[in-house]
């Protein structure tokens, strides 16, 4: 057991998962991820490179990944905004990589050192065009480690970028962490092509919707493109081909959604009042639900460890017997509450508890709405 900060756990999780390349541009409250990588990566023969901005950072990560690296970057909202175009490249060209977004309070430079959970929709829809993405969200230092490992595993399995959506509190918090031994957690590497080099097509998917990926410098020469492309990776403007490609980058996640969507239940099964929470707010929610139970109200919490794809089925199941559903989150609009309403329907009693002044939600804020 060691005392570890959330950001450090993210960096350690990435290295445990096999990451050997980090490119980034420092930004509060994510900089400790970069600092830790700058210390550890060169010792392991890996590479830490500080780029000129976040646009270049995600670009270098994509380049390194295509050269065979497990690569990642960490940033916060303003930098994440700058990364969107090339994150879209990674979706389009199906490049495995991990982006850590430690959310801080906006808009713009906002309250630079204060927490927020207002990037949920930016993570999902921040890029132009039709795209699917995986996003995971830790609520503790241990989850910072474990969900980062999981982020790399998903990224490698499905050949897709994965966003780890943390927040300032979980990233700067310290807790005791037992770093797993080597081999204790499963580590997954991307599927490599087995066909002869002359037959290799970098975007020809197997039945699981995922195409094996070679590396630049390996015997299989290949081409990738940000433009619409066919199985060979070269530009292709045929409408039928475009439809197939867009279908597939969605379907390869849809068909595996049960493996990707991770939730945790804290007395959610028999809850009359269900709290759906994610990130640091899970903890205040659990404390509130526990107190509600001591006051005679059957409250429970469903934690969304996976934010995207959204936990439609899990929420529907957990909310089946609840008379009220509460979604506490550190944003104004109720970004997740809106999704929950979409899932459960307009007639259901769904209430948001929202904080958008850079202050966290406390158990009493949530308890009030449970008991109301």
């Amino acid at each position: 057991m060691r005392l570890v900060q959330g950001n450090e756990a993210i960096a350690r999780g990435a290295l445990y998962a096999g990451a050997r390349f980090y490119a980034g541009y420092p930004i509060t409250p994510s900089s400790e991820v970069a600092e830790e990588c700058s210390v550890v990566l060169p010792r392991m023969g890996g590479m830490y490179i500080q780029m000129e901005d976040e646009i270049a950072s995600i670009a270098a990560v994509v380049g390194a990944s295509l050269a065979g690296a497990k690569a990642f970057t960490a940033t916060s909202g303003p930098g994440f905004s700058l990364m969107q175009e090339n994150l879209g490249f990674a979706v389009m060209a199906e490049v495995p990589c991990v982006v850590v977004d430690v959310q801080r309070s906006g808009p713009s430079t906002g309250l630079a050192t204060k927490p927020s959970q207002a990037d949920v929709m930016q993570v999902r829809w921040g890029r132009h065009g039709d795209q699917a993405i995986i996003a995971l969200c830790p609520a503790s230092v241990r989850e910072c480690f474990e969900l980062t490992v999981q982020a790399f595993n998903f990224s490698e399995t499905y050949r897709t970028p994965v966003v780890l959506v943390a927040d300032e509190v979980v990233a700067h918090m310290r807790e005791s962490l037992r770093v797993p031994e080597e081999g204790e957690l499963a580590i997954i590497d991307r599927k490599k092509p087995s066909v002869p080099p002359s037959e290799y097509k970098p975007f020809e998917a197997d039945e699981d919707g995922v195409a094996p990926l070679a590396a630049y410098g390996s015997p299989r020469v290949f081409h990738v493109s940000s433009s619409m492309h066919g199985p060979e990776g070269f530009s292709n403007n045929d409408p039928a081909n475009a439809a197939r490609k867009i279908d597939r980058i969605h379907r390869k996640l849809d068909m595996h959604r049960d493996e990707i969507v991770m939730t945790r239940s804290f007395d959610a099964d028999d809850a009359d009042v269900l709290v759906v929470a994610y990130g640091i707010t899970v903890r205040a929610s659990r404390a509130a639900a526990r107190e509600a139970r001591s006051k005679g109200v059957n409250a429970g919490v469903l934690q969304l460890q996976t934010l995207w794809p959204f936990a439609d089925n899990e929420i529907r199941r957990a909310a089946a017997g609840a008379r009220r559903v509460i979604v506490p989150e550190m944003n104004y609009a109720g970004q997740v509450a809106g999704e929950v309403q979409r899932v459960l329907g307009p007639e259901r009693d769904i209430r948001g508890v929202n904080s958008y002044n850079g202050q966290i939600l406390w158990p009493r804020d949530i308890l009030e709405t449970i008991m109301a």
Partner: protein
């Protein structure tokens, strides 16, 4: 006639005729590049041609090496990741003036400062050809484009001077008129460890030439030839005369350690720690 088949083995089958306009310099630059590949015996497996967006950014479609076609202006940043992680790769970045010094100017100066061992072949046609001839950061003051109909109020970047002061190990300028010199410069740039740049001042008769009444493609190419002087001759000019010309040939040749060499030093310090 061997000279005209040299490099052909790097040209993808079935892609000609290429998509560039008659009179465009891109075909000449591509053939010079592929001839240089052959002279250096580059393998397809260990070579990556990286492009951005623009007419010249289509060149990756024509080669049989590994290819990468990315977002506008970011080619050097993608290339940096590839080369930094796998130093054995030959990473060649093909950019227009838009990719290199307009939208991507920041990456250009930082790639030079970092001295990452990639080669940038910048075709400078003084405007955004692909999208209809809009003004770029290399459109000279007072010239017309589709978005500077009353002529350009801004000054232009000197790409080679920028690369020089930012720290590139190798900088050269050529034109499609000087095809063999161009190939020699590209070959030297590819051989050079560290960041290397070859700027090719090239005609865009379809847009830039049309807006500025530069005549037929051949007349336009001739005008570009008249804009440049071999750097030895250029050096003998007085300050006033120098303003009328761009020097060509090898302008910078240094042997500063490249990024990967420096990073290996970081690694050995880290491992001792």
């Amino acid at each position: 006639m061997t000279v005209f088949t040299q490099g052909l083995r790097y040209l993808k089958e079935g892609v000609t005729p290429h998509m560039w306009c008659p009179g465009c310099g891109n075909g000449i630059v591509l053939s010079a590049l592929l001839r240089a590949f052959e002279e250096l015996a580059y393998s397809n497996e260990e070579t990556v041609v990286v492009t951005g967006i623009g007419c010249w950014g289509k060149a990756d479609d024509y080669v049989v090496t590994n290819g990468f076609h990315g977002t506008h202006g970011r080619a050097l940043a993608f290339a940096t990741g590839m080369k930094a992680f796998n130093p054995r790769l030959n990473v060649v970045v093909l950019m227009g003036d838009g990719d290199a010094v307009t939208i991507g100017g920041n990456h250009f100066i930082h790639a030079a400062r970092r001295n990452i061992d990639v080669t940038a072949i910048v075709v400078n046609n003084f405007n955004f050809g692909m999208t209809g001839g809009q003004v770029s950061a290399t459109t000279p003051l007072g010239m017309a484009t589709s978005t500077t109909p009353y002529t350009n109020p801004e000054r232009d970047f000197d790409i080679c001077a920028l690369a020089d002061v930012a720290g590139a190990n190798y900088v050269a300028r050529a034109t499609p008129w000087h095809g063999f010199e161009l190939e020699a410069n590209i070959r030297e740039a590819l051989r050079k460890k560290g960041f290397s740049v070859v700027e090719v001042m090239s005609p865009c008769p379809t847009h830039y030439g049309k807006y500025n009444r530069m005549g037929t493609p051949v007349e336009m190419l001739r005008k570009i030839r008249e804009m440049v002087l071999p750097h030895e001759e250029y050096a003998r000019l007085g300050p006033a005369q120098k303003k009328s010309y761009f020097p060509t040939g090898k302008l910078v040749d240094r042997d500063e350690p490249d990024f990967n060499t420096r990073y290996d030093e970081v690694r050995s310090r880290a491992m001792k720690d």
